[in-house]
Symmetry: C2
Subunit: 330 residues, 2 copies
């Protein structure tokens, strides 16, 4: 992929996470499906927030978490996403830029605040998310930085963008710009419900537009409407150049033109909060891929980054991930 | 102290903490004195923030942390302090109210944002703070809720309020309202530099206005300009009805009308971040005191709450502190 300004450029929702611990009964009371993400309106998020206990705030957003992780490994990265002109926008911008990520998307003018996601962490470490997209609903094709995409080895797109028509259009346009420039297109399916809402388009994208696809078991089986991971894996392997199936504590499965690598999960003393596990797996994997490592090493880096993120609250690394490299790279 | 609506009402700066890990060299570079709090202006905080790595945001403020802790133990509490009309104000309000704390101070009108404190945590777990008071500079006597103060068993005031002339005036007025109503006045000296800036007034307050005084070793020795903790303790014991000297890992010393109780620190597996240690010690102590526990038990509750807070990032409890009670109360 030669000498490009950016190893990986991410495109996704700019979101600040508002994280709180809850009991399972809180999810039941608010009719929330454990482990999934739902989009909610401003009134509904205010109501849910009012009923939650004390929280901490931390930058989030799926692709943004991945890019933060790749930057923390030491690679050259950029991010494209829409914040508002509020304090949460300042937090989001600071947190990515302070990692060296190039981030210059103009904030949405007007009063619409930055997107926020209520992340409810149950005692088992599982997370259930309710997202108000806010200024993210203003994201459109004109926000795409064409030069940045063309100057990247890989662009990384989150499936969540599909939930807004304008963002979905931008998503496709970004993929076209990338293909024309010889930039690889990587995609995460994001969430099984999201896949369910946009199955046909995702299938088309997996077959034609994307070079690299990340999915967990629920997303992959939802995409092909099959009952087993093996069936989903066979389909994915047939449809894409490079597919990565993440399987929580069972590790990950890398499928590349008829060839399969299984990578174990990295050891974690205690699973505190699984938020960002998939995002950070993708970070480690794409860091490895963009710097020319073999696929097995890419998978190991993904496992290590995921292990770091689930050992604490929040989806941004608490250590410099490049400190993990000496144990993996020879 | 009879049957009152509130066990403890706190008055202090309403602040959101922006917490980040740094190396010691970062403090040196920015000329920050480790372990202390400095007030800075908006331009200076923006500059420091720009140079910091990724952060997490969490409600803070010294007296507010104490009140959150007391509420988490299960007592009836209120808080008086000034936020702005921004997102940080919403966070602050939500986080105290969701613990059941009565908090109705009107936000400052206009564009001034809520106070924020950059908390830099070094590898040894020590914290160094730079605070921009923001809307807190608009706090004045008219913000005092007289009925709330009169309906409290104890009011708890933070010394940091002394750094703004109008807030200092409100501080004294609150103490007068309390005294007239038979509400006990508790005070924390907050910070050795703060004591240094206002020594004469603090001395007067300790001798005449306050019933209960919390100080750490640095603050107590700064107040009396003495070199040893023992000298400071003798002075404090002579000057107040009830003084509590906190001594980090050496525990605390309770001095009450010629009578002294030493309480050991509670065991902590790893000191992650000492932010809020003094605030939460005061929470445990005041919870015990307002619910009629003997002084030694008050001190033990203080040690336990402090141990909880230093075992994680941030100055608000991550567990319900009332779960600590069965081990202490018989």
């Amino acid at each position: 992929m030669g000498d490009r300004t950016y190893d990986v450029v991410g495109i996704g929702n700019a979101v600040v996470d508002i994280i709180s611990r809850v009991e399972d009964s809180f999810l039941t009371k608010h009719d929330l499906q454990k482990g999934f993400m739902q989009l909610i309106e401003e009134g509904a998020i205010a109501k849910l927030y009012d009923d939650m206990g004390p929280a901490i705030e931390r930058s989030g957003g799926s692709a943004a978490n991945t890019i933060a992780g790749i930057a923390s490994f030491g690679a050259k990265t950029g991010f494209i996403g829409k914040v508002g002109g509020d304090e949460f926008g300042d937090i989001f911008r600071h947190d990515v830029r302070s990692l060296g990520v190039a981030f210059d998307t103009a904030p949405l003018p007007g009063d619409m605040g930055t997107g926020r996601c209520l992340v409810l962490v149950t005692p088992d470490g599982e997370r259930t998310m309710s997202t108000f997209l806010g200024a993210g609903t203003g994201f459109q094709s004109s926000d795409l930085d064409k030069e940045m995409i063309e100057a990247a080895k890989i662009i990384f797109l989150e499936g969540y963008l599909y939930d807004q028509p304008e963002a979905k259009k931008a998503f496709h346009e970004a993929a076209e710009i990338a293909q024309a420039a010889g930039t690889k297109v990587a995609l995460t399916l994001s969430d099984a419900f999201c896949v369910d809402r946009h199955r046909e388009d995702f299938l088309k994208l997996v077959k034609q537009g994307a070079d690299i696809v990340f999915a967990n078991e629920k997303e992959a089986t939802a995409l092909y409407e099959v009952n087993s991971v093996d069936e989903a894996a066979q389909n994915l392997a047939a449809d894409c150049e490079l597919a990565i199936l993440t399987r929580s504590e069972e590790g990950s499965m890398i499928l590349a033109s008829g060839y399969r690598v299984d990578v174990p999960a990295a050891w974690v003393e205690e699973v505190v909060d699984v938020t960002g596990a998939g995002d950070l797996y993708a970070a480690g994997f794409l860091y490895g891929l963009s710097t020319g490592e073999p696929l097995e090493t890419c998978g190991k880096l993904g496992s290590l980054a995921a292990a770091e993120i689930i050992s604490h609250i929040g989806a941004r690394p608490e250590i410099e991930l490049k400190t993990l490299l000496p144990g993996v790279l020879s």
